[in-house]
Assembly symmetry: C2
Homo-oligomer: 230 residues x 2
DNA sequence: CAGTGGTCTAGACCACCAG
DNA sequence: TGGTGGTCTAGACCACTGA
């Protein structure tokens, strides 16, 4: 272990944990001890250990010290990309069809989700995302016009609402929900699959501060997989 | 902005980004400038900006400086918990039925995934996870006996294989894949749903260094949702 | 090749909380 | 209440890479 850097130290400690040097739940050496052992500053050890703590491998508490987690809950990270980029990353040509665009009163469920006033108008958009001409995903979206009235001027036939919103309201917060659903009549029709087909679905609500911006449901064509490393 | 801490500085900068102070793709001030502005050490600014970079909001390059991302791809984090903890977190009593446990030659697909020799024996386990007595998920797992022969001595009727493995080979790496599948005959039977029902499925392969440990498929009962914040 | 971010150091003070 | 981790500082050197 004569490599430099908190990275090397982190990996060295990770390996010692894997090898069972400290049993789960047991206290590990303190930062000062590690610093002496690896002959570096305490801040460097701190960086390494914080990094492991972020991964969910160890737990750190003031006064109580650092412990190996009893039941490590691994944290998986997903990139939530724009559909266009996702399609292009798979080596396909991306196109999109805006199959419906209408301003109307939002149904109750959407109005609740977006905190709209009773009977408020909202923009409803339906889009099919295509990969090399084949249906890739069907998007059903409602946009709060109070939050982003400018979207009515946007050329949504050219830039998908997804992408327009990301560019204009880029750093919003949100909630994402993944599930498996049966294709309804509309989804089946649009994606060209049998009604009742199992679809991977993503629900997403985004807001900025107190203002709810949009709610989207995305239904992927059968066979879609979301992968990640842990 | 007279609060202390890299946290406060990070949130202040995040807000300035949200408000559009620097257009996407434009260069932001350097660390030295920010340090002067917030009257703190450069290291503190570095911590704040690295944190924003990890979130995927900004991009940093040596020499080129720090930029607001053009198309921010948000990173969602998921905890990948032990099923028992997931069930208990929902306020249900957890039980599990080990419905099959057999050592036999792994089918070709599993053997490939786990890098087993031709015709090697592996442990096949089928488990139903129950929440308050109702089927919650069906688990189909293969374990590489070369990697963890001790599992044959484990009381798997008491501790789920999932949990035993987490305790005994806690810090392995893995690949996770989420998808939507139709319930096959076996899954339908076990979960008590109609054949063809849409199920949320998780595939997971884990390994430690070069040794492949286990491959698992988990089929959740209909209605399961995986949620997270971004 | 100069300027940016990446990292390290030694020292310091503080917040937290288990003993 | 003392020992732990959390954070800050001022200064330094280095690695990378765009102008």
């Amino acid at each position: 272990m004569r490599e430099r850097g908190y990275f090397a130290i982190r990996e060295a400690i990770r390996e010692r944990i894997s090898e069972g040097e400290w049993a789960p739940g047991k206290t590990m050496p303190g930062e000062v001890d590690f610093a002496a052992e690896y002959d570096c500053a305490r801040a460097t050890i701190n960086r390494a250990l914080q990094s492991l703590a972020e991964e969910g491998i160890i737990e750190r508490k003031r006064r109580a010290g650092t412990r190996v987690k009893e039941l490590p809950t691994r944290r998986a990270k997903f990139e939530i990309p724009i559909v266009r980029l996702e399609v292009e990353a798979r080596g396909h040509a991306y196109t999109a069809n805006l199959i419906a665009q209408e301003t109307k009163a939002a149904p109750r469920r959407i109005a609740q989700t977006l905190r709209l006033h009773r009977g408020a108008q909202a923009l409803h958009l339906e889009t099919v995302h295509l990969a090399s001409g084949r249906p890739y995903a069907y998007e059903d979206r409602w946009v709060n016009l109070t939050a982003v009235p400018e979207i009515l001027e946007a050329p949504l036939y050219k830039v998908s609402a997804n992408e327009w919103l990301v560019r204009h309201v880029p750093y919003s917060s949100g909630e994402v929900c993944f599930s498996a659903l049966h294709a309804g009549k509309r989804q089946a029709e649009i994606l060209g699959v049998a009604q009742g087909a199992a679809l991977f679905a993503v629900d997403r609500t985004t807001w900025l501060e107190d203002e709810y911006i949009t709610h989207m449901q995305l239904y992927y064509s059968p066979g879609y997989q979301m992968r990640t490393r842990i």
